[in-house]
Amino acid sequence: MSETPAGASAGAVVETSRLTKVFRDFWRRPKVTAVDELSLRIAPGEIYGLLGPNGSGKSTTIKILLGLLHPTAGEAVVLGRPPRHVAAKRGIGYLPEESHLYPYLSPRETLTFYGRLFGLRAGIIRSRTAELLDMVGLAHAADRPVGEFSKGMMRRVGLAQALINDPRLVILDEPTSGLDPIGCRQIKDLMLVLARRGKTVLLSSHLLADVEDVCDRIGILFNGRLRAQGEVAQLLEKRDRIRFTVPCLSTEQLQTTLALLKQHAGSEPDVDHPSLNLEQFFLRVVREAHRDAGSAGSTAAGGAVPAWLGDREEAVS
């Protein structure tokens, strides 16, 4: 017997149809409509970004998709099943906005605990724990209680636990919150690697640069409603403008080229030097500093993405 709800299209990893969530007060009177008739579809291997300002309904949507909240109306299907179905949860990895980790457990104990909840064998848990902690750069702190960690370190443990089951769908709620620029870059690179290996990533963030860097498609929520949706490149492209990037020209060559362009375009073209963004500049400086100091193994330095998360080994940074 198929457990796929009626209306769910085949192949979609996440699909919602007119999903609505109304929060009520103690007397059951409607208080806030956090999600309003949201319909979206996320395909396998896609990185989908859910964007929106604070209070737009991103986290509520994610919590409904995880079965932590019940929709007031509409329908949600995750990995072909209703979100509250235990079987649907086997293929999901979730990094919440706040870490919610048990403070008295060490990262190793945390990953072992969650690995056991997935029914993984002890040997597999052991090897995956070691590789994931190495990947997030916490191998050196594997046996310290999580309660002693900084927020960034907790996020890294949270990320590792989200991957312990080699999930088909990775749901990341504000994954870069509390991380330094290197950690942010690592998370973004990890998302790209996961997508290349066939995983589906649902990313919720209000940091536009993060979303722009990694997402294939985005949806913009405002007051619980989906205001815009599409591929990032298409949405951002200015189709009435063209940009050329060429190696530096001499003054004479530049004048000739500009004259030619002005003749065809009918207006003065803009000319400048392309610049790095601040993140690229920061990462270059830190990489050089690391090389000069010959340091390795700090929290910031992540290891390789484990092979079992896909079929090819790739470095996070």
């Binding site: 929060f23 986290s59 008295y104 457990l105 605990f113 909840l117 029914g119």
Partner: protein
């Protein structure tokens, strides 16, 4: 495996918390302090009974409160701190979460209870082995406490016909008012008949009949334990002859100094043959002497040696553990329904309510409430009070029945008395308290957890 992972996490959670440290300190204070604070009658026997009855009783009470409150917090705090979010998004059912938490907490209670029981056991033997204990004192403790004797009560006196006959007669004579129901009048007549049957004056006789088991006693043999009472403060010893008859055999025992208290009369092993044992007592005291009272109930019983103290202690602790398991289940389900303080209040209130309802029903049954016979009529303000009391009793009765099923039989007093806790009672505790009640609470708790939205917003709902 998933259940065990959650159980292990629960134990770990408790071990890291200060609450456990506080409980351990309190338990140690109780075990070490109560024998000093409550000295009993000053004898070694009294000291041992205090140690086993009051010390282990307080340990059970303390662990009960701890089990209830810790269980309330185990889920409620997990929900409030949102630790449960990460567990709930894993492929683990809410029932599994509930059972894992319950198993972890029960395992913790078992460890603490075993430690306390071990300490009490060690203290009993250390006191016995210590200096200043005479051979007679040691023998008394060994014979009366450090044993597990099966208790066989006498057949209840056949009063039904006598009660019915007397009730009919009193109705005819108009002694019993017409507005007093048969049930109340019969209970009163029965009480009076039992009271009159208890007295055995000089020259009078009293008979008990016991159904002995087919299995013979262990090395310690069998005894007849009698507990006569004095009708006044007169402590003059009474004399009497005890005649035991079973299967054509007869055995006589003479007691010359029968005073109020507990007496053990050795029974020949051959009399434990699976048949009826008849015990006749004849009060041989001079005519001017006092009456000896043998209240119907536990004033005479046959005790048959069955097992040692260690085995009996383990049985008693197991029954206590079953009670803790039921309390833990109640606490967990309360924690699934409410936030921590509300759950703790509701759980404690329910337990207190159950125990009070039992006491209320027992008091009402014993006739300590307003007796309609004394007021002459059921109308007026007295009648209203009676009706209110009856309504209260009707409401309390089902709760009292639940309470009775959870605390059936007083376990620790019997342990301190060297009375064996019967296997059927231990099995009943395991089934009712260790399985049925927890299963019921688990069904409710996991249903609530399934229905409950675990990520409801506080201030920020996005």
């Amino acid at each position: 495996m998933k259940v065990l992972a959650i159980a292990a996490l629960t134990i770990r959670d408790a071990v890291r918390s200060r609450v456990l440290a506080a409980i351990i300190v309190l338990l140690l204070v109780v075990i070490a302090g109560v024998p000093f604070a409550v000295t009993g009658d000053g004898t070694l026997f009294g000291e041992m009974r205090v140690l086993l009855h009051y010390t282990l009783g307080l340990v059970g009470l303390l662990l009960g409160v701890a089990a209830l409150w810790t269980a309330c917090g185990a889920v409620a705090r997990d929900i409030e701190d949102q630790h449960l979010l990460l567990t709930a998004v894993k492929p683990v059912s809410r029932t599994c979460i509930w059972i894992g938490r319950w198993l972890g907490l029960v395992a913790l209670s078992a460890i603490l209870l075993a430690l306390c029981g071990g300490l009490a056991f060690g203290m009993v033997h250390a006191k016995l082995a210590g200096g200043g204990v005479s051979a007679a004192q040691r023998r008394e403790v060994e014979e009366r406490i450090l044993v597990g004797r099966q208790r066989i009560a006498a057949r209840p006196p056949p009063l039904r016909d006598a009660v019915a006959e007397r009730l009919a007669r009193l109705r005819e004579q108009g002694v019993v008012p017409a507005d007093v129901p048969d049930r109340e009048a019969a209970a009163e007549i029965r009480r009076r008949l039992l009271a009159s049957a208890a007295g055995t004056g000089p020259g009078a006789a009293r008979r008990w009949v016991f159904d002995t088991p087919t299995r013979g006693p262990r090395g310690g043999g069998a005894v007849l334990r009698i507990r006569p009472r004095a009708p006044t403060r007169d402590m003059t010893p009474a004399a009497g002859t005890w005649t035991l008859r079973s299967g054509g055999r007869e055995h006589r025992i003479r007691t010359d100094a029968l005073i109020e208290g507990e007496h053990l009369l050795e029974l020949p092993a051959a009399f434990m043959d699976g048949g009826a044992l008849t015990v006749d007592f004849r009060n041989d005291s001079p005519a001017t002497s006092r009456t000896v009272l043998f209240p119907v109930g536990d004033s005479a019983e046959v005790l048959i040696d069955r097992t040692g103290f260690a085995a009996n202690l383990i049985r008693a602790l197991f029954v206590v553990l079953c009670r803790l398991a039921a309390l833990t289940a109640l606490g967990l389900t309360a924690g699934c329904l409410f936030s921590l303080p509300v759950a703790a209040f509701a759980g404690t209130g329910l337990v207190c309510g159950l125990l009070l309802s039992r006491a209320f029903v027992a008091a009402a049954g014993a006739g300590t409430h307003i007796d309609p016979g004394h007021h002459g009529a059921r109308g007026g303000s007295g009648g209203a009070a009676v009706r209110m009391m009856e309504a209260g009793e009707a409401i309390a009765r089902p709760f009292a029945a639940v309470a009775a099923s959870t605390v059936r039989g007083r376990v620790l007093p019997r342990l301190a008395d060297g009375i064996l806790l019967p296997g059927r009672e231990v099995r009943a505790a395991a089934i009712v308290l260790g399985l049925l009640y927890p299963a019921g609470f688990a069904a409710v708790g996991s249903f609530v957890l399934r229905r409950r939205e675990l990520a409801l917003p506080g201030g920020d709902w996005t």
